[in-house]
């Protein structure tokens, strides 16, 4: 093996006394696609961000191609040929693709006037370089998440990097979109760009990476390559012990009575003539590409879509649409797909987040009953094993998985008949993911009717009693558990062939 291209030596990074990385030494040869795995908080994103100049380590050194580097800003890293594709996309939605792509280095005419033609040509060139055709004049905000991601990659590749870091690039992509991303990454690999790929998702790591390094609690655990890269080996290294694959318990009980009946539900431009029934004790999976209308149906049932028309019955009673409070009072809860924007109030205490939906009932002599609020949050902290400094800690001090548990706790405290969970494990580490799966399963077992919307097929297939597939706003098929496999769901999602 040749000398390492990237060499981390004894990297230590702490955030105010809490160690994010401790003494991490890691080397990556030139041209390799190197995976970084670990639970949330294991430090994998931090390591990527140190290389990209976003964080500065307290101790340790970093060598690229034999040269010692100390980056104090992303600009320094960029100058050394390191670019990063971030998990959270940062764009100006009101500006065009071209304007976003040449941000900060706009081509000028006569010293001051924006050279629009040149800017658009440059943008087209950048996109063409990664084999993508897109109208560079379209507004960034009109693009799908997948398209935004591609633009971000184009921007990163456009800086001619020697090293490209991906941080959870597929966390908001559907399966076929992710597939196109993988092909793109593979083509970049052929060009000899050294890549660091941070992800939770094992299949894509196995497919893309030559080697995988595993971090646990900020420490380097080891690396796997070639045939050693198996799911059980990775999981064992990540959490330090073996885990059994999860098989849901709720299937033991027979499904109960029909709780939710949806008839001819339509919303212009979102979904059309949707019909389905949901029974107590059942987990109904919703599969489909992002934008197929799954989350939109959930929002309509939750009262968030004023244009939704159709008939929804809850426990045999008509449920008027268009008001969150009506839906809430009837017993419908929604764990929304965008946890940070819709799920929780990041700057507020966990306990205050958990009590949010039951506040009106939490009064004593007209005042907020803090004792009961504390009891409720402590109860769910214990039941869901939420890890935080205390229930009074702000939600943004928690890991993604624990934030999601806080959102779930909010709805459990409220109680109800129907729980809709939209992408419940997005950006959540393996350990918390298993815990959330077990929790959803247990809730169904206790008789709750659950709708599970997910872009992760293994999650849908493992947990659901049956899966409804949506494409372009329509229900295109329903697959019972006995016939569930990734291929049949994918085929329906992409519209290749009807299952029936």
């Amino acid at each position: 093996m040749s000398a390492p291209f990237i060499q981390f030596r004894s990297i230590t990074k702490t955030f105010g006394g809490v160690a994010a990385l401790t003494d991490v030494t890691l080397s990556i040869p030139r041209g390799e696609c190197h995976g970084l795995m670990g639970e949330n908080g294991a430090g994998k994103s931090t390591l990527g961000k140190i290389l990209a100049g976003i964080h500065k380590p307290e101790k340790g050194e970093m060598e690229i191609d034999g040269h010692l580097h100390v980056f104090s800003s992303p600009r320094d890293a960029l100058a050394a040929g390191v670019a990063m594709v971030h998990q959270e996309l940062a764009f100006c939605p009101e500006l065009s693709v071209a304007e976003n792509l040449s941000m900060g280095r706009y081509p000028k005419k006569f010293g001051a006037i924006l050279d629009r033609a040149k800017m658009n040509a440059q943008a087209e060139e950048l996109l063409a370089a990664i084999g993508v055709k897109l109208d560079v004049r379209s507004k960034m905000g009109d693009l799908s998440t997948a398209q935004e991601q591609i633009v971000q990659i184009a921007a990163a590749v456009g800086t001619n990097p020697r090293i490209l870091i991906f941080d959870e690039p597929t966390s908001s992509l559907s399966a076929p979109e992710a597939e196109r991303l993988f092909e793109l990454i593979e083509s970049l690999k052929v060009r000899g760009i050294t890549m660091i790929y941070v992800s939770h998702r094992m299949p894509e790591l196995f497919r893309l990476c030559d080697k995988i390094s595993i971090l646990r609690d900020g420490r380097y655990v080891g690396e796997l390559s070639g045939p050693e890269m198996t799911e059980s080996a990775v999981v064992r290294m990540m959490i330090g012990r073996d885990v059994e694959s999860y098989f849901p318990n709720h299937l033991d009980g027979a499904p109960g009575e029909i709780v939710l009946k949806v008839r001819n539900l339509s919303s212009p431009g979102r979904f059309r003539e949707v019909n389905f029934e949901l029974r107590a004790g059942e987990i109904l999976g919703f599969a489909g590409l992002v934008g197929a209308g799954r989350s939109e149906i959930a929002k309509a049932i939750f009262g968030l879509d004023p244009q939704a028309k159709g008939h929804v019955e809850l426990d045999g009673k008509n449920l008027p649409l268009g008001s969150i409070r009506t839906s809430l009072d009837a017993g419908i809860s929604l764990v929304p797909e965008d946890r940070k924007r819709q799920g929780c109030i990041l700057g507020m205490a966990c306990s205050a987040n958990i009590s949010m939906a039951v506040l009106p009932a939490l009064t004593k002599a007209g005042m907020l009953d803090r004792t009961r609020e504390k009891q409720i949050s402590e109860k769910y902290f214990a039941e869901l094993s939420i890890k935080a400094a205390s229930p009074e800690a702000p939600v943004n001090s928690l890991s993604g998985g624990n934030q999601q548990k806080v959102v779930l706790a909010k709805w459990l405290a409220k109680g109800g008949r129907v729980l809709i969970v939209d992408e419940p494990t997005r950006g959540v580490d393996v350990g918390a993911k298993a815990a959330i799966h077990a929790l959803i399963d247990q809730l169904a077992r206790q008789g709750l009717a659950v709708i599970l919307i997910s872009s992760e097929l293994p999650e849908l297939i493992n947990l659901s009693s049956r899966v409804i597939v949506m494409r372009e706003g329509r229900l295109v098929g329903e697959i019972p558990r006995t016939q569930l496999d990734q291929e049949s769901v994918l085929r329906l999602m992409a519209g290749v062939a009807s299952a029936n």
Binding site: F15, G16, Q342, I345, G347, M348, P360, L362, L368, E392
Partner: protein, 349 residues
Amino acid sequence: MTAPVAGTRPKKIRSGLMQEVGLAVVVVLLATILGVYGWNDAAPGRPNTFFNVDNLIDGIATPMSYYAIMAIGVTLVIITGGIDISVGSVMALSALGGAAALQTLPVDAGAFHVLSLAFVVPLAIGLICGLINGGLIVGLKLHPFIVTLGTMSIFRGLANVLPAEKTLPSAGKQLPTAFTTNFMRLEIGGLQPMPLIIMLICVAFGWFYLRMLIAGRETYAIGGNEEAARFSGMRVGWVKLRTYSLAGLAAGLAGMVSLGRFGTASTSTASGYELTVIASAVVGGASLIGGRGTAIGALLGTLIIALIENGIIILRLAQEYRLVIIGLAIIIAVSLDRLSSIFRNRSSH
């Protein structure tokens, strides 16, 4: 993360409380500097020019009371992520309305009659103005800055147009003494503490509202993340309407205090107050992004500005520099807060 080891776990302090303590330290510091100067400055055998009850009540507490009362209302609005720049105009309109109503009564009218009118009219005007602000912001989904910029102008314009004269009560008339001399200028031990008392009641109410009531929690939740609050079933529109109404009510109350204290109101009453009020709220730790702020912080923020104003007089600095000094103080206060919150975030991650 494993279970926290006893002794290593940092004690969790409510971040609002930490901020209040920080502000209190600044207040003590300013007061100490002024006190030492005032002691040194006093002629032999004369009291400290800063630390004497007359200066503390007449020089600081009374003039700051209008600002503090409104700053509490505006803090509520800022916590929801909004802003209200119409409060100065609302205060003027309320004071003029109160004066117009009270001048119809004889000077020696009965206390009950006078005081009920003196409270109801300005407060009702304030409430209506607040409801208009809130109604436009919620109903038309307009930005609070634009709405209150418009109503600031409208309310001030009405204050110019509606009264028959520029100053009320009209020439030859006088407000009932039951409101002025015997209430707002009531002397206790040679001092007139009524504005201070009303201000402290407002702080207590603001604290109670934000800390003890569901309504307070809703205020923080909506400012912290409006969409998540909506997704949790909170009536966002109603909470905002309520908040702007309270800000209007506070401005009405400030108008009443000023009317009782001076015995008159004019079309230029409280002009330019809105900026000092917002500055006080922000110095007091309210974050314009929303989700952060306290009533006690608003009081301390106002007090800091009042101490600086008073200090300029005590130190006999040129009045011309007043605005410059206050502007600098605002920017320094907010940058210190920003620095401390960066530091806090570093240490809590």
